[in-house]
């Protein structure tokens, strides 16, 4: 056990800090599109977008420790995200690096890093949510093409996405896990239509996506036919790795502390209220536990042990924190909690992020069955 960094790693941290000091204004104008464009040009030039992707595909070829340092420093200064294609960078690109053909890598990886694409992921269906492997959206082979019929739902960002990472059933005759295939489909393919769904905070963040005979070449298949479940499980594991979650939650904790500092409850400063102070401490305990659990998983990855079901720890901690932060935010707002406002909407939006990527009870099933060895229900 050693939490010290090597001189080379420390030098990298200094390099990141120097870059941030030179290029990141305070406060960060992250709503200004010109700034965000210029920012991404600069971090792309340093190959910090896709930091651990292979250099031959435009990535940084960096190791996991430096990637951790980079994320930590960026988060501490509240820098904008590295890159604009969030899902492409988080799940789709890593899946293509592992399972993609040379042509697919050439077509998609640099485009993701450059922000020329916006990926969405087509998993859930109207009758298929937590039981994802029962999905029904069909793709039938017709010569060199797949013909897709069916529907996806809760598809985040589909209303402005350029591509969809799509799970379809190619063989209804075999067991539900074996008949699934993964396709990489441009959203402008004829036969695809999108219908936004308003979420409870009044914004269009997710959608229904309809496939009515949409045709896509067989060359857009990621991995072999029937291998889709394996491909997507790897991608979801990526989604659940803990480090970025903890740096995000750290920022939320700082925000809610600032809110508490500026709030008055029952005529007294909110920070003079023991209950508020203790709840903030409780959040600090969980955020710090998430950070250190992330470092334990990082160490496992460095030792060649891929992250498995244990990444559900931070997913569950995050859910607990988000709901508690949502409640404390509204309590600190006092009577103003009833008004429309940015903080009020954020408090509502947390109810969605808790469910995204698998509801907490599904995470509990995974832990109970795969780690504790309890019987499947």
């Amino acid at each position: 056990m050693d939490f010290n960094f090597t001189p080379e790693e420390q030098a990298f941290r200094d390099e990141v800090r120097a870059f941030l000091a030179a290029h990141l204004p305070n406060p960060v104008p992250d709503e200004d599109p010109d700034f965000v464009r210029e920012w991404n040009r600069q971090v792309r030039a340093k190959r910090w977008i896709g930091f651990n992707w292979p250099r031959e595909w435009g990535g940084g070829g960096g190791d996991l420790i430096r990637q951790f340092i980079l994320k930590e420093e960026m988060s501490a200064r509240r820098a904008p995200a590295l890159g604009t294609d969030f899902m492409g960078l988080t799940w789709v690109g890593p899946a293509i690096i592992v399972h993609g053909s040379q042509d697919q890598k050439a077509e998609h990886l640099e485009a993701i890093l450059d922000g020329r694409t916006q990926w969405c992921t087509g998993y859930s269906e109207p009758d298929v949510g937590s039981d994802l492997a029962s999905l029904q959206c069909r793709a039938e082979r017709d010569g060199d093409e797949y013909v897709i019929h069916g529907q996806k739902i809760w598809t985040t960002s589909a209303h402005f996405a350029s591509h969809i990472f799509l799970l379809v059933r190619t063989d209804p005759t075999v067991s539900k896990y074996k008949g699934i295939t993964c396709l990489l489909v441009p959203m402008n393919t004829p036969g695809i239509s999108v219908s936004p769904i308003e979420n409870l905070s009044g914004k269009a963040s997710f959608n229904q996506v309809f496939f009515d005979g949409a045709r896509t070449p067989v060359s857009n298949r990621l991995g072999a036919e029937g291998e889709g479940w394996r491909v997507v499980m790897g991608a979801l594991a990526n989604e659940r790795s803990g480090i970025s979650e903890s740096t995000e939650m750290r920022q939320h904790l700082d925000d809610i502390r600032s809110l508490a500092r500026d709030s008055v409850r029952n005529g007294r400063p909110a920070l003079a209220d023991d209950r508020v102070r203790r709840r903030l401490s409780e959040m600090e305990i969980r955020v710090e536990a998430m950070r250190l659990t992330g470092l334990r998983h990082l160490t496992d990855q460095l030792n060649g042990k891929p992250s498995g079901s244990e990444t559900a720890i931070n997913k569950l901690q995050r859910g607990i924190l988000e709901l508690e932060m949502s409640e404390l935010t509204l309590e600190l707002l006092g009577s103003a909690a009833q008004h429309q406002g940015e903080l009020q909407h954020e408090a509502l939006a947390w109810h969605g992020t808790v469910i995204g990527g698998g509801s907490p009870n599904i995470q509990r099933n995974i832990i109970a069955e795969r780690i504790l060895g309890l019987p499947k229900d």
Binding site: L280, S281, E284, Q363
Partner: protein
Amino acid sequence: MNFGFSEEQGYLRDAVRKFIDGRCPIPEVRRLMATRDAHSPELWSALAEQGSLGLLVPEEHGGAGLGWVDFVVLLEETGRTLLPSPLVSTALAVMALREAGSRAQQGRWLPRFADASAVGTLAVLEANDVQGAPGVGLVATGEGDADVLRGEKRFVADAGSADVFVVAYRGRPGIRLGLVRKDAPGVRVELVPGLDETKRSGTLLLDGVRLAPEDRLAEADPEATLEWLLDCGRVAVTAEGLGAAEGALALTVQYAKDRVQFGSPIGRFQGVKHRLADIWVDTESIKSLLYYAAWTIDNRRDELPRYASLAKAYLADAFTRIGVDCIQLHGAVGYTIEYDIQLYLKRSKWLRPMFGDGDYHRDRLARLALAANGMGGNP
């Protein structure tokens, strides 16, 4: 950066497990619970031979000179089966001497702590039950260069088996720490029956006990030394408590696999499996905080207070819920004296207030955050 255990620490864990399987499985724990001090000199000697007692004692004094990450591995394992022993108490006495003992004091006590010929413990709390220096009301009177103590120390862990007490008192002026031998004139121990019979404590009665200068620990910054010792104690009981929480989880998972109702092991039902999954998330999260806190003791001392509080606060509340829920998940047999899960419930009750409960540490964390961030509003 490496947040993993070394190969040697893995061997240590295996060795301790094997030792406990052979020397102190749960039936032996129950046998010791029925004895006066829940302390077996034979077991204590065997622990010394096995190397556990000298783990934190420097090599020059007959120990292994290892660190707190190693010690936490040991305590997690002894906690798993509720091993009754003054291991934590003696380790804190070791730390007091390492930190503030003179060469002579170290030479007299450390080899004896390592070879099982002495048991040590801290005597800090009083009837006011206030943690740390603010709770220390025992005032020494001066007689020449000696401090004379008249009063009592409460909630003294392993008071019945201890040979020497590290006593916190008020000198002239300020906090002092002194070494009081159990056989010194004026010393008496009153045992208090415990809710958790694997953990014993008592009241230390001091009636004109003389502390010569050579009985006192260094006086550079005794208040800071005391708080540091308490933080070491927080890490130690958290390690033991984490092991116990994992032990309770393992027993309950096994029960959920074995117990059949409605034609199915109850572990198939989500009402059961989700609670067990949450317990696992808690124990894993506590590990992350605890291991880092242990590492700070030997490597980043300035970070210890915050991490000791983070770890102890999480454990104190989580283990309390775990104790309650594991009884319920067992159903009626959980309420019997026969099933072992009740021992873990009692351990969770013992542990919660030890070195400060959850709210104590959340308040401390809030003060630390306010001080570090310069956030206004500190009343």
